[in-house]
C-alpha cells in the first residue's frame, strides 16, 4: 500500500487504463503539453503521445459532443473539463446525446465515456467558478455520477468508470487533489460503481457526506466522540445509482441523520437522500433528517464570506448535536 495524493491516484488510474485499452484516450483543455491545469494528467502526453492525450480548443460543447460521437464509433473517451463549471456549456451533449443515445436507439448504441474534472468550490474563485453540479447530472437516467473522497476511492472508481459501458460523470474536487491516502498497488484494484462506503463506524448518528465534506465529517465525528457521541460517516461515492440500502442500514442503527454537502440545498442530492430516507426508514427516525449545504447564494469572492458560505466542522458538529437533541 503506497501513500499517494488523490492527484497521483487519478493519474495512475488514467495511465493504467490507457495501458490496458488502446481505445481509451484523454481529451480536454491543457491536458497534454501543460500536463493538466491541476496536473492530474502529468506525464501522460510523454507516455502515450499526442494521438491519445489531446489538448482541445476552448469549445466545451463541441469536444463533449466529439467524445460522445467517438464513443458511438467504439472508442472509450475520457473528457476532462478544466472544471465542471465549464461543463454547463456542454450539458446538451451530455444530457441529450450521451444520456439518451442507448435508449432512443433501442439499445443499439452504448456510450462508454467518462466526463471528469473538479467540481465545487476552490479558493476564492467567485461565483462562476465555484459550482457543485452533481444534482444536475444525477437528475437524468442514462448517466452515472461518481464523487470520490479518498485516494483509493479516486483510483478504484475512476478505473471502474473508464471500464464501464455507460456515460459516467466523474467529479473531483480541487481542494482535495493534494490529500493523501493509502492506495493498493495491485494494478487491477478497482472499486465497483454503486457501492457506498462506511468511512467511519458509529452508533448514535449518521452523517451522509460526499467529496469534500467527507474529511470534514470525519473531523466532526472525532470532536463529537470526545463528548461521547458516536458518529457513523457514510460516503455514497456513487450518486447515481445511489446505494440507498447502505444508508438505510446505518439510519436504522443510529436513527439520526445529517447530510452534509458542498452544493446548494434546493433540489440537491441531499434533498433526494433525505426524501428517500423518509420513504424507506420513516419509523426509524428519532429526528427529522437535517441537511447542511452551502449557502443559498452565489459564491462570493471575499474570503470571509466564502468561509461562511461553505459547510465547516463546527457547523457539522452543531448539526449532529441538533438531531441528537443535545
Amino acid at each position: 500500500m503506497a501513500v499517494i495524493t488523490i492527484r497521483e491516484a487519478l493519474n495512475q488510474a488514467l495511465s493504467e487504463e490507457m495501458q490496458r485499452d488502446e481505445n481509451v484516450f484523454l481529451l480536454g483543455e491543457e491536458v497534454a503539453a501543460y500536463q493538466g491545469a491541476y496536473k492530474v494528467s502529468k506525464g501522460l502526453l510523454e507516455e502515450f503521445g499526442d494521438k491519445r492525450v489531446i489538448d482541445s480548443p476552448i469549445t466545451e460543447l463541441g469536444f463533449a459532443g466529439l467524445g460522445v460521437g467517438a464513443a458511438m464509433a467504439g472508442l472509450r473517451p475520457v473528457i476532462e473539463f478544466m472544471t465542471f463549471n465549464f461543463s454547463i456549456l456542454a450539458t446538451d451533449q451530455i444530457v441529450n446525446s450521451a444520456a439518451k443515445m442507448l435508449y432512443m436507439s433501442g439499445g443499439q448504441f452504448k456510450i462508454p465515456i467518462v466526463f471528469r474534472g473538479p467540481n465545487g468550490s476552490a479558493y476564492q474563485v467567485s461565483s462562476q467558478h465555484s459550482q457543485a453540479l452533481e444534482s444536475w447530472y444525477a437528475h437524468f437516467p442514462g448517466l452515472k455520477v461518481v464523487m470520490p473522497s479518498t485516494a483509493a476511492d479516486a483510483k478504484g472508481l475512476l478505473k471502474s468508470a473508464i471500464r464501464d459501458d455507460d456515460p459516467v460523470i466523474f467529479m473531483e474536487q480541487e481542494r482535495m487533489y493534494g490529500m493523501k491516502g493509502e492506495v493498493p498497488d495491485d494494478p487491477d484494484f478497482t472499486i465497483p460503481l454503486g457501492v457506498a462506503d462506511i468511512k467511519r463506524e458509529g452508533t448514535d448518528a449518521t452523517i451522509v457526506a460526499r467529496s469534500l465534506t467527507v474529511p470534514l465529517a470525519l473531523k466532526a465525528a472525532e470532536e463529537l466522540e470526545k463528548d461521547g457521541i458516536s458518529v457513523e460517516v457514510v460516503d455514497p461515492r456513487t450518486i447515481r445509482p445511489l446505494d440507498i440500502d447502505t444508508i438505510i442500514r446505518s439510519v436504522k442503527k443510529t436513527n439520526r441523520v445529517v447530510i452534509v454537502e458542498e452544493s446548494h440545498a434546493f433540489c440537491g442530492v441531499g434533498s433526494e437522500i433525505s426524501a428517500q430516507i423518509m420513504e424507506r426508514a420513516f419509523d426509524y427516525l428519532d429526528a427529522p433528517v437535517k441537511r447542511l449545504s452551502s449557502a443559498d447564494a452565489p459564491m462570493p469572492y471575499a474570503k470571509n464570506l466564502e468561509q461562511l458560505a461553505l459547510p465547516d466542522v463546527a457547523r457539522i458538529v452543531a448539526a449532529v448535536r441538533e438531531v441528537s437533541y443535545m
Binding site: 435508449y103 433501442g106 440500502d245
Partner: protein, 381 residues
C-alpha cells in the same frame, strides 16, 4: 437489415481536383428563375446528366432511382398514416430532398458512417434500413429500427452504420465530428457523413466542430441540406450571409455548392469530398441547395411560402428529373419504370402491414436500454 446495399464505385480518376466555394455564383443561378429560364437550365442539366450516365453502370443508376422512388412513396404513405393517427409525435417529411440523401449515400461504402437530424426517413432508407423497420418505428412498434423508443426523429440502424436521427438542431454535428475522430484514431479509412439543415449552421456547435475538424484533419463530410427554410424562417431572415458554403472560409475548410435536385451532381460532389477525406483526411462542407415540398412537419400549415414558389421547385422534382433522364437515355423504359413503381408499392404496402402487425413494445421495455451496464443497487427495486 439492408436490402439495398450500395455498391461503391471505383474512385474516378479525374475527380481529385481541389474544391472551391463557388456558392455565390451557383446560388444565384438556381434562385428565382422564370419558367422559361428554368426550362433552359433544365435542358442544360439534362446534358450534364447524360454525360455522367455514360460512366455509371445500369445497376447503380437503377438502384439510385429505386431509392428515390421508395423514399417518395414511403413518405406519402407515412403522411397518410399520420393523418389517420397511426403515427404520433413530430413527423418531418423529406419529400423534395430525396436526391440529397440518395446521391450522397450512393458515393460511400457500407462501413462509412452516416448521421442526420430528425428529418431522417430518407437517409435511413437510402442507407438500406428496411422500409418495414422504419415504418414500424414511426408506428412506435417493437419491430421498429429503434424498438419503438425513438420514433420518426430518432431512427437508428447499427448494422447499416446509420448513427441516427437527432432532435436538437445542430446536435449531430459534434457527434459526427467525433465519429470521424474515431475513424482516424483507428486508421480504418472510414469517413463520417453528417447532414443538417441550413438553420443549424447558426448554432455554436457547428462553429466548434468545424474548427476541430480542420485543426485535427478529421475525415468528416458536412452536408448542409439548404432547403432555404428553418420552420417558417427563410435563410435570409436567419443568417447574415446567404451563402452557406462561404462559412467554410472561416476555418480554412474546403467547401462546395451543388444543386440538390440533381442526384448525380450530389453524388459527384460527395465523391470528391470522400476522396479528400480518405486520401488527405480532410473535412469538406457541402452546401446542397434543395427544397422541401411539404411543411416543416406534419403539423405545419406552411403559410410562409407561396404556392408559386413551391410549384417553381416542383417543376424540378428530383425524382421526376432523374427518371425522365434515365428514360430518354434508355437506361429504363416505361415498362421498367412501371415495374419499379410496382416493386416500390409492394415494399411500402408490406412495410405498413409489418408495422400494423408488429406488437407494441412490452411494458417492461420502459426500463430497458437505460444503461448498457445496469447496476443493481437496492434490494427492494
Amino acid at each position: 437489415m439492408s436490402e439495398l446495399k450500395v455498391t461503391p464505385l471505383k474512385p474516378r480518376d479525374e475527380s481529385s481536383g481541389q474544391a472551391t466555394a463557388t456558392g455565390l455564383a451557383e446560388q444565384d443561378s438556381t434562385a428565382n428563375l422564370s419558367p422559361d429560364e428554368l426550362r433552359e437550365e433544365h435542358e442544360h442539366r439534362q446534358q450534364h446528366l447524360r454525360q455522367q450516365i455514360e460512366e455509371l453502370d445500369r445497376e447503380t443508376l437503377q438502384k439510385i432511382l429505386y431509392q428515390m422512388v421508395l423514399i417518395r412513396r414511403f413518405e406519402e404513405k407515412a403522411a397518410e398514416a399520420y393523418t389517420l393517427g397511426k403515427i404520433g409525435g413530430f413527423c418531418h417529411l423529406y419529400i423534395g430532398q430525396e436526391a440529397v440523401a440518395v446521391g450522397s449515400l450512393s458515393a460511400i461504402n457500407a462501413d462509412d458512417y452516416v448521421m442526420t437530424s430528425y428529418r431522417d426517413h430518407g437517409h435511413a432508407l437510402a442507407r438500406g434500413t428496411s422500409a418495414d423497420e422504419v415504418m414500424a418505428e414511426l408506428y412506435g412498434k417493437a419491430g421498429g429500427c429503434s424498438a419503438g423508443k425513438g420514433g420518426s426523429m430518432h431512427l437508428f440502424d447499427r448494422d447499416a452504420h446509420f448513427l441516427g436521427g437527432h432532435g436538437i438542431v445542430g446536435g449531430q454535428i459534434p457527434l459526427a465530428t467525433g465519429v470521424a475522430f474515431a475513424a482516424k484514431y483507428k486508421g480504418t479509412g472510414q469517413v463520417s457523413l453528417v447532414f443538417f439543415g441550413e438553420a443549424a449552421v447558426n448554432q455554436g456547435a457547428l462553429h466548434e466542430s468545424f474548427n476541430m475538424a480542420q485543426l485535427w484533419k478529421l475525415p468528416c463530410i458536412y452536408i448542409c441540406e439548404n432547403n432555404q427554410y428553418g420552420m417558417g424562417t427563410s435563410l435570409a431572415r436567419a443568417m447574415s450571409i446567404q451563402d452557406v458554403s462561404q462559412k467554410a472560409v472561416a476555418y480554412g475548410m474546403a467547401s462546395e455548392f451543388v444543386d440538390g435536385m440533381d442526384v448525380l451532381a450530389v453524388r459527384e460532389v460527395t465523391e470528391r469530398a470522400v476522396e479528400r477525406a480518405r486520401k488527405e483526411s480532410l473535412p469538406t462542407l457541402i452546401e446542397v441547395r434543395t427544397y422541401r415540398f411539404m411543411g416543416h412537419s406534419m403539423s405545419d400549415p406552411g403559410n410562409y411560402r407561396t404556392r408559386a414558389e413551391i410549384e417553381k421547385y416542383q417543376e424540378r422534382d428530383p425524382v421526376k428529373l432523374f427518371s425522365d433522364t434515365l428514360k430518354d437515355k434508355g437506361v429504363i423504359d416505361d415498362a421498367a419504370l412501371k415495374e419499379l413503381e410496382e416493386r416500390v408499392r409492394a415494399e411500402v404496402e408490406h412495410s405498413v402491414k409489418f408495422a400494423e402487425e408488429s406488437p407494441l413494445p412490452a411494458p417492461e421495455e420502459l426500463f430497458t436500454h437505460i444503461y448498457a451496464n445496469p447496476i443493481k443497487v437496492t434490494s427492494d427495486e
